[in-house]
């Protein structure tokens, strides 16, 4: 009675939308079969192995729908029955950050990874690996607790007095709002950390406090330093960022800003915090 999949397919319908289709999308071979190479691992401490699946690429399919297809019939190209691939996912529209993984050697969200772009031809292969900077839970699922722990290190919050009705917050100009909004779009996906040569795997939570904090947390520190009330904790945030694993550990490779799916100006945040700690350190030295 009701079919929610439009016959024509959005964006490539007969009536329009054929214009701006990105690169490979237009060239993708319809009805092709692609190969999906997945790095699998049964759990912490277990050895990894590769499995290859042959999957029919439907119009508009992405890595998620491909993994869903594999789940309903988990058989490798060798004809061996295996288990569905385990992976983390949530919103499937690139706002929750859950489904981040390494695809063809680069970190990104798997939901926005369209098969038409990555494997446009018959038999093309696409490679899925878990992020390497976080401990693997199973298959493509990693434990990113450290990422959230690092937000606590910089007290990434506004210290409000409580939830009582105390009137509106501070007014701000549209320019201030736009600066903060851009920083506030960070969905803690961890792309910036995966691509960062200074951020390395650290399985021991006791070492998290002194290992490199990462671009996302530095940028969040800037976000809250920019807020009129959040500024109250500016000194504490900067002190945290001056210590081991703080902003000084940044090696300026600037991969973070290039892989950030939200185009957050992470390197500007790093420089802004660099400036803030410079001033803070000098002021503190003279103040005693």
């Amino acid at each position: 009675m009701l079919n929610f999949t439009p016959a024509a397919g959005a964006g490539s319908g007969a009536g329009g939308g054929s214009g701006a289709g990105g690169g490979n999308r237009a060239r993708a071979v319809p009805g092709r079969t692609i190969r999906v190479r997945v790095k699998r691992c049964e759990g912490p401490g277990k050895a990894s192995r590769w499995e290859v699946f042959a999957v029919k690429a439907e119009a508009g399919s992405n890595v998620i729908s491909v993994l869903q297809q594999i789940a309903s019939n988990p058989v490798t190209v060798e004809g061996e029955r295996t288990t569905p691939v385990v992976w983390d996912s949530g919103c499937l529209e690139e706002v929750c950050g859950a489904c981040t993984m390494v695809i063809n050697g680069r970190v990104r969200q798997s939901c926005s990874c369209l098969i038409d772009e990555y494997a446009p031809g018959e038999g093309d292969e696409i490679t899925l690996e878990p992020m390497s900077k976080f401990p693997v839970v199973r298959d493509l699922w990693v434990d990113r607790s450290r990422l959230f722990h690092n937000l606590s290190r910089v007290k990434a919050w506004v210290p409000i007095d409580g939830t009582y009705n105390l009137g509106p917050g501070p007014r701000e100009t549209p320019a201030q709002q736009e600066t903060r909004y851009a920083l506030s779009e960070c969905m803690s996906c961890g792309c910036c950390l995966e691509a960062c040569p200074q951020f390395t795997l650290e399985e021991d939570p006791k070492a998290w406090g002194t290992s490199f904090i990462g671009a996302h947390a530095i940028s969040q520190a800037r976000l809250f330093n920019e807020h009129a009330t959040g500024r109250a904790l500016k000194g504490e945030r900067l002190e945290a960022l001056m210590g081991p694993g703080g902003v000084s550990d940044c090696g300026n490779a600037q991969n973070c800003v290039k892989v950030c799916p939200k185009h957050i100006p992470l390197t500007e945040s790093i420089a802004a915090i660099g400036r803030a700690v410079t001033i803070h350190a000098v002021a503190r030295w003279f103040r005693g």
């Binding site: 050697g105 390395t200 210590g243 090696g251 802004a272 660099g274 400036r275």
Partner: protein, 269 residues
């Protein structure tokens, strides 16, 4: 808490600072002096012909040898507290090198997966640092401390015969190239090139670290400035090296001898 942790920020910033002052400043002065081997004639302000030699009166070292010698002599004989300056410099280099290696070991390069230009520079900053340390050590040990056993041909650099002894140390003998001399010259080429890169790129990253260039645009602009500086320094470094390896040590020695004796070298002597 270890000493490193307690003074984490200070050490990090001192590491950054020492790369610029005194090391970077010295590098500039050093390259300006050394490159005079090639452009020194201009520095003699018309007196060049007094120091020229060779049948046609034109050689690569024309004028440069003499000018360079005058500079070196001035530095060694006129600059006050030279030893103090040198010790300060060595200390700064040692500090920058030791911490640099320590810091570099905290990262793991990934240019294979993320082949961005900035990321490649990150990797090269570390490679150039490692090679630079070896190079500086070899350079200072052989030419300053006189560890001639490390020099093919066993030349001992002398500030009284700056060009000739340098050329000998680079070419491996007084009379011409030796295989070992080629290796040393190639090492010099790599060393000076990487150090110039290390300085120019370090100057760019320092501006981010200290928060001088915050916006992406400012970082790009400053990148242009650093690139310009790097190209200039690279030109000086290469010209100095080119001049030093192409000059005949014997001819250079003749110029130096004439300077010592305070007389003009005449063609064909």
């Amino acid at each position: 808490m270890s000493f490193m942790d307690r003074h984490y920020f200070l050490l990090r910033r001192l590491h950054s600072l020492t790369g610029i002052v005194p090391i970077g400043v010295f590098l500039i002065a050093h390259l300006v002096t050394n490159s005079s081997l090639l452009w020194g004639k201009a520095g003699l302000r018309g007196e060049g012909e007094k120091y020229s030699f060779g049948a046609d009166g034109v050689t690569l070292g024309e004028g440069g040898v003499a000018y360079f010698q005058k500079e070196v002599t001035w530095i060694n004989e006129q600059v006050p507290h030279l030893l103090l300056i040198e010790i300060t410099l060595w200390a700064a280099i040692a500090f920058h090198a030791v911490l640099g290696v320590y810091y570099a070991r905290t990262g793991r390069s990934n240019t294979d997966r993320y082949a961005y230009q900035d990321n490649r520079r990150y990797a090269w900053q570390r490679i150039s640092g490692y090679v630079g340390i070896l190079f500086i050590f070899y350079h200072v040990a052989t030419l300053r401390w006189g560890w001639s056993w490390l020099v093919p041909g066993g030349a001992v650099w002398s500030h009284d015969a700056a060009t000739s002894t340098l050329a000998m140390a680079l070419r491996g003998s007084e009379s011409g190239w030796t295989g070992a001399g080629l290796v040393v010259s190639a090492f010099y080429f790599a060393g000076v090139s990487l150090l110039v890169f290390h300085f120019a790129n370090g100057l760019w990253t320092a501006a981010v670290t200290w928060g001088l260039t915050v916006s992406a645009r400012a970082q790009r602009r400053w990148g242009g400035v650093c690139l310009g500086l790097g190209v200039g320094l690279m030109a000086m470094a290469w010209s100095a090296l080119f001049a030093a390896v192409t000059i005949d040590p014997r001819e250079a020695r003749a110029v130096e001898a004439s300077l010592e004796q305070g007389r003009v070298v005449s063609p064909g002597e």
